[in-house]
């Protein structure tokens, strides 16, 4: 962590950035997001296995933007998220400093090429329980999947923590917040929950970088990340596109190829 503290201190002292978005000491044994503006506080930064929340979610928050040019302590999946945000014109790599830590060596990723190279060298690896969940659901019949999701989603009370924790859910006005027309029922009955979750998955199809922040954020333990993972899997399988790899990539769902194939349109 020494190297990280040193780098953060330098960046703040040189005035290159005004704030470091990183992980710091939290409640009990948790870590929490911290926003460090003073060089002398750089040693508050923490870097270990507990750093799992996707901090890229803060990059576009108005309150954080007000703090000035940021440096962000990035896990591999945060780098992916940043590339995806750049490809969606939500960020410019010239306006942020991305700090990656490998074996206590801190590197600055400051342009698109270095971000892409880092992302390509650090593929997302699902933890074993996620691999198992994906496999279990793939083996279910459609009726079993219906029952599985109805049961899981029955606990949803629409706190929208999944949306809030997702760095790619950045719309200022979400579809679900619109009431003319009311596409998504406000109520968290089975229909309202289904509508919300399929919309979330559809809107993240080909965009979800599979960081798992939504699942971690869900206060009632619904494995909602599986939905957006599946949506991205479909996009990769059908259209060969993967998010978070190229800063100039087209968005899968707002582009097309004449050769796209299917078998169900008569």
């Amino acid at each position: 962590m020494q190297a990280l503290h040193q780098k953060a201190k330098e960046l703040l002292e040189s005035g290159k950035v005004q704030v470091i978005i990183g992980y710091g000491d939290g409640s009990g044994d948790r870590v929490r997001p911290v926003f460090i503006s003073k060089a002398e506080s750089a040693s508050d930064l923490i870097w270990d296995d507990r750093c799992r929340q996707n901090l890229a979610v803060y990059l576009n928050k108005p309150e954080i933007k007000k703090l000035g040019v940021p440096a962000i302590v990035a896990t591999p999946v945060v780098v992916k998220t940043i590339i995806q945000l750049i490809s969606e014109n939500q960020l410019k790599s010239s306006n942020i400093v991305v700090l990656v830590v490998d074996n206590d060596v801190v590197s600055e990723l400051t342009d698109n090429a270095s971000l892409e190279a880092y992302s390509a060298g650090h593929p997302v690896v699902f933890p074993p329980f996620v691999v198992k969940e994906i496999k279990d659901i793939a083996e279910m019949s459609i009726q079993q999947r219906n029952k599985y999701w109805q049961d899981e989603l029955s606990r949803c009370f629409k706190c929208y923590a999944c949306r809030a924790a997702c760095p790619l859910c950045y719309c200022e006005r979400c579809l679900t917040d619109n009431n003319q027309p009311q596409w998504v029922c406000v109520a968290s009955h089975a229909q309202g929950n289904f509508e919300w979750h399929i919309n979330r998955a559809m809107h993240l199809a080909g965009r979800c970088v599979e960081c798992g922040s939504c699942t971690i954020a869900c206060p009632v333990g619904i494995p909602i990340g599986l939905l957006t993972i599946e949506a991205s899997r479909i996009v990769k399988q059908e259209f060969g596109q993967e998010p978070g790899l190229h800063c100039d990539a087209d968005s899968a769902m707002s582009s097309f190829k004449v050769e796209d194939t299917e078998t169900f349109i008569k």
């Binding site: 939290g26 409640s27 009990g28 948790r30 870590v31 929490r32 997001p33 911290v34 926003f35 929340q53 979610v57 803060y58 928050k61 108005p62 309150e63 954080i64 899981e152 606990r155 009370f157 629409k158 706190c159 929208y160 923590a161 949306r163 809030a164 924790a165 917040d177 029922c185 406000v186 109520a187 968290s188 009955h189 309202g192 922040s213 971690i216 954020a217 206060p219 009632v220 333990g221 619904i222 494995p223």
Partner: protein, 342 residues
């Protein structure tokens, strides 16, 4: 109500709970689901868990469901049929088992809140048909702070019956209300007589980290304090804290349906959402997340005590456990007493 002292053996407690189920009452008890504990309808007493600090969700759903049908209409043969569910519906007899004293206090706060002005028939009827059997806390974690908000690990407030584990698979039983008494009387054979036991030594020890009246006093001068924007920087603006909170009671009325048939629903809402206060004009009086975080704290610790003489927090710590960004309410309240001048 004169108090009755009894003890009950663990195996008799299971039989007692089993008899509640077989008598046709709905029993809600802590059960595990996907690594977390919830109050769920129990059909088998052996699925009930006893070794837990706090359920993921509060029991408020028993008084104030996340989605509640208030009114329905239907066109039948060209005639409009209206149903007021508060009038027509018979609310089922329910027993909540395993709530901790903080939750029982919260249920009482909710009941009082919903009748402070025009009494709300729904919560009232649900409360009338609910009997609460709480279990005192013999352990707690860092997120718990009941003693700082005027309650305690063995508080009897809001419980109809309170059980305190006293070791050797035994519970000390305090019957507190008429509802508790009638449930107790129907299953008396499972209970044994006992002298008054001082339960304090069995309870978890929890020191007071701040004084809630102190918080209330400081808040009256703190509306423009910089503490709100500093504290809420990492807040993501979701409603997880409000929805797991046993006291939070904001709601949104939604009409769903067509010209033929429809419902008026009461749905949970949260002051953490920017949409909560967004006006039709586009103006939002709580524009920033810091405004909304301040509202949450102010409502619980300033507005509720001032207006209803109720405290909007029971120290259960669920919001801190649920928060994806680790907003810790206990820590923040302590900070308020330290950083804001009295």
């Amino acid at each position: 109500m004169s108090m009755q002292q009894r003890v009950i053996q663990h195996e008799n407690l299971l039989k007692f709970l089993g008899e509640i189920i077989s008598s046709g009452k709905q029993l809600y008890a802590p059960q595990k689901k996907a690594e977390k504990t919830y109050f769920l309808p129990a059909s088998d007493v052996h699925s009930i868990v006893f070794d837990y600090i706090q359920t993921a969700e509060s029991p408020k759903e028993l008084l104030f469901p996340k989605t509640e049908r208030m009114l329905s209409y239907e066109q039948v043969d060209g005639k409009l049929k209206m149903i007021d569910h508060a009038e027509g519906e018979i609310f089922p007899e329910r027993v909540l088992f395993g709530s901790h004293p903080c939750d029982a206090v919260a249920l009482k706060t909710l009941t009082d809140f919903f009748r402070h002005d025009v009494p709300d028939a729904f919560t009232q009827k649900r409360q009338d048909s609910l009997t609460v059997i709480s279990v005192s806390c013999i352990k707690a974690d860092d997120n718990c702070f009941c003693t700082s908000v005027g309650t305690s690990p063995g508080d009897t407030e809001g419980s109809d019956i309170l059980l305190t584990p006293i070791g050797n698979a035994k519970y000390y039983v305090e019957v507190m209300t008429e509802k508790g008494q009638s449930l107790f009387a129907a299953h008396e054979k499972y209970f044994e007589n006992s002298d008054i036991i001082s339960k304090d030594k069995y309870l978890t020890k929890m020191s007071e980290v701040f004084s809630s009246s102190e918080v209330t006093a400081r808040l009256s001068k703190a509306f423009d304090h910089p503490i709100w924007s500093d504290a809420s920087l990492r807040c993501l603006g979701c409603g997880a804290c409000a929805y797991v909170c046993p006291v939070c009671s904001c709601f949104d009325i939604q009409d769903e349906g067509t010209d033929k048939k429809g419902d008026r629903l009461r749905c949970w809402d949260s002051c953490g959402f920017s949409l909560f206060t967004l006006h039709t004009s586009g103006h939002n009086p709580r524009k920033n997340q810091s405004d909304r975080w301040r509202q949450r704290v102010m409502h619980k610790f300033s507005y509720m005590p001032e207006r209803y003489e109720l405290l909007g927090c029971v120290g259960c710590g669920r919001c801190s456990r649920a928060c994806p960004a680790d907003m810790n309410i206990k820590e923040q309240l302590k900070e308020i007493t330290e950083k804001i001048e009295g």
